[in-house]
Subunit: 247 residues, 2 copies
């Protein structure tokens, strides 16, 4: 009962802390770094320091990772170089990977031999539960063998809360990205649309025909449509085109 | 200790449930409705049904409200009509308003007389802790006097979690709105920019001068700039303008 009580106290603190970190983060990368630091602080137990990293796999081969310090980033990078390891495996397969003794684990030996040299004796890869094509894992490294044996329920609870917060951070990140893409598209579209209008007036043609003229000229001259459009608009105006819409 | 334990168990469930509801909601209004329903389910105690509503005040006089049922929506609407009541007061002043006996409360009498007729005997208005200009409150109505006397800690804890989730929902809502505004602006800007290009070519002038011509014509003819631009572009092309960018 006492232990459960402590976990619950921890759970409500963790939930609040992670939500506050989403609100304070500038983007997904920023939140991943905060998450890795918060996980290391929360899950470091007595007698063993815990390094923590977060791996996030999005779409095709879009890997993001963040660590609580240099050690954990080294573990992650080495894992990618060696072509695999417990944490990448957890992220890819949604299976919790427990390596209580790095020395005795038969899998991923080329990676684990390098890890052993840094003093890491136990590794835990806990998969996140995300949406869409995104997968990921919370990666914990300890300098003591069997360091995670007694904290499995707390770690599972942490990963559950972190999954929810990460989903929210990813949704917000997607919305922010779409907004930025639209704003960027609007910048380049002003010049293109004005150039289309000029070509329509000069050639008495419709929008599609004007765009074909622009595209052909861009291909013949090996210039970007956007740059050519700015040139056409600028040559009529006698000065560069402005985007006067402020999003 | 047992009571504290239960609250913590509740807290971690609430945090997860509210975050899941943000993810499942289409927009802020949808989330407010989910929040009101979830609060009513969570806070309904033994011996008294609890109606719940959520009031959100944004910018200048932008009021949103959602209720767990018809009763709570009636309470809110009546409160706006009567020019004030405990819940609106809590939302506006950030102060928790406790009305354990509707009959004995000297303030807001015109509103409370109407409320009494519906069988409501106790009201609690709990302010949210939000960002920027947004304020709001969780409004609880019970059919038993003093219904909220023993659940103050749970309710405070609920409002704390709800505040965090509401902040996240509002941030996501803002991003989604900005994205929609940009997409809508893009729609009307295509026609305007093409018309500006046509006017530039026909008058050998720059962008600002072309826009002035468009604006003067719009004012003279009492037509919207967007409509006039579409007409100009359509008259050269012989057909309506398309927005070929799909956001």
């Amino acid at each position: 009962m006492d232990q459960t009580f402590n976990w619950l106290l921890e759970a409500s603190r963790i939930a609040a802390a992670l939500q506050e970190r989403i609100l304070a983060s500038e983007d997904v990368a920023d939140f991943l770094a905060e998450l890795a630091r918060h996980a290391a602080d929360t899950l470091s137990g007595a007698g063993s320091e815990v390094y923590c990293s977060v791996t996030l796999l999005r779409d095709k081969n879009r890997i993001s990772s963040a660590g609580s310090g240099e050690q954990s980033l080294y573990m992650d990078e080495t894992q990618y170089k060696c072509g695999g390891g417990p944490c990448l495996y957890a992220a890819q397969t949604h299976v919790l990977i427990d390596v209580p003794e790095v020395d005795k684990e038969p899998r991923w030996r080329s990676y684990l031999d390098l890890v052993r040299d840094t003093g890491v004796k136990a590794i835990l890869g806990v998969p996140f539960n995300l949406e869409g094509n995104a997968t990921g894992a919370l990666n914990l490294y300890a300098t003591r063998a069997h360091a995670f044996d007694n904290s499995a329920p707390l770690i599972a609870l942490y990963a559950e809360q972190a999954s929810l917060s990460l989903r929210l951070a990813l949704r917000m990140g997607e919305l922010a990205e779409m907004k930025e893409h639209l704003a960027a598209a609007m910048e380049s579209r002003t010049a293109i649309d004005i150039a289309i209008g000029i070509l329509m007036a000069e050639n008495r043609c419709d929008q599609e025909q004007a765009f074909s003229i622009l595209r052909r000229a861009s291909s013949n001259r090996n210039a970007k449509i956007r740059d050519l459009a700015a040139e056409i608009a600028g040559s009529v105006a006698g000065k560069p085109v402005q985007t006067y819409f402020k999003p």
